[in-house]
């Protein structure tokens, strides 16, 4: 049976390969810091489930220290601009096939792989069908890309390192913020927010509760910089106790639209620096808030839309 730990091991091996290559690249004067960062991340994937929580916490703190010191960037061998142009001319839109295979295999795998039984055992862990299918989708897409493009054998790992070093520590941000959100939820931040809201706004109709949840997700996301951190807190504070349990909302609808309301907050906050501030700086826009200014109207319309949709869809007659 294919289980989630196997997919984690696959990811861990990739990050380990990135770390080893980084350590060997003399072009990066800070190569040991970078290798340490990706190495600790690899340990997190390979052994995280077997380590005690305290050890995992120390791993994360180690990563923070290394990232704060600066990871540097190496110079992995890659294709030239001419080779890329030639490849584009040769393959055209077929270049998108490997990328589109990932969502395609994930969707089909989620729907169908649960049903496959090999030797009396299910082929994949049915509880984790989506994540395992995503992992398999990546493997299938990599295979297709290798067959199509016939790159040098080490190219996949080299390009993985180039991408990882380009994004830098921000690559691990969604995972870390989701963990932070879970910590906040365990620490009871959700209960405090629910208490504050109850003191000032009477959330005694479904529409008010839905509005408070969606606007709360957007605001808390704007503060935290990421919806993954806001989601566990606001869902524990308003989403589950009020919208789902008290008023009988469908949890799938409430959670999906709650997350999307959070993304409306992402569009308008400088805290989401990698989306909203870094591009403005890289493009040397005269207005540092230019990206946010352009995104704000869309964000507000979509937040309103999410509230209406949640109110209409979450309470089936």
């Amino acid at each position: 049976m294919i289980t989630l730990p196997m997919i984690y091991a696959l990811a861990g091996l990739l990050f380990a390969a990135i770390a080893i290559q980084g350590a060997l690249d003399r072009a990066n004067p800070r190569r040991w810091l970078g290798a340490g960062f990706w190495g600790l991340y690899a340990v997190n994937f390979l052994a995280g489930s077997y380590l005690p929580d305290f050890a995992n916490g120390v791993l994360v703190l180690g990563m923070v220290a290394l990232a704060a010191a600066g990871l540097g960037r190496g110079a992995p061998p890659t294709t030239t601009a001419e080779q890329r142009a030639a490849g584009t001319a040769r393959f055209g839109n077929a270049l998108f096939v490997p990328a589109l295979l990932i969502p395609g295999v994930t969707l089909l795998g989620t729907l169908l792989l649960k049903l496959v039984v090999v030797g009396g055992q299910p082929l994949i862990d049915p509880n984790q069908a989506t994540l395992i299918s995503l992992g398999l989708g990546v493997v299938v897409a990599l295979g297709a890309a290798i067959i199509m493009l016939r790159p040098p054998p080490l190219a996949p790992v080299r390009e993985a390192r180039r991408l990882a070093e380009t994004i830098g520590w921000a690559a691990v941000l969604p995972q870390m913020l989701a963990a932070l959100g879970a910590l906040f939820a365990v620490a009871g931040v959700g209960t405090v927010i629910a208490g504050l809201l109850n003191d000032y706004v009477p959330l005694d109709t479904p529409l008010l509760a839905v509005t408070a949840y969606a606007v709360g997700m957007a605001l808390f996301t704007a503060m935290m910089g990421n919806a993954y951190a806001a989601f566990p807190v606001m869902t524990a504070a308003i989403g589950l106790p009020l919208v789902v349990h008290k008023f009988g909302g469908d949890p799938a609808v409430v959670c999906a639209l709650g997350m999307l309301s959070g993304f409306c907050g992402t569009l308008v906050t400088p805290m989401a620096a990698n989306f909203n501030v870094v591009p403005a700086a890289l493009l040397e826009l005269p207005d540092r808030n230019g990206v946010i200014r352009v995104q704000a109207p869309t964000a507000l319309i979509l937040l309103l839309g999410n509230i209406v949709l949640m109110y209409l869809l979450a309470f089936p007659p």
Partner: protein, 45 residues
């Protein structure tokens, strides 16, 4: 809650986002065309 259900319920918002974005791009195109027309009008007396 299955992840697939979450994606299904994200579709209405995806449609709405498409509509909003298309509408904003159409408005932007019109604005740019007006500006271009105004510039041409300035040059041709």
């Amino acid at each position: 809650v299955a992840p697939l259900q979450l994606s299904v319920w994200a579709m209405p918002t995806a449609l709405l986002a498409l509509v909003v974005h298309v509408a904003r791009l159409v408005l932007l195109d019109r604005q740019l065309q007006c500006q271009a027309a105004a510039r041409v009008a300035e040059r041709v007396p």
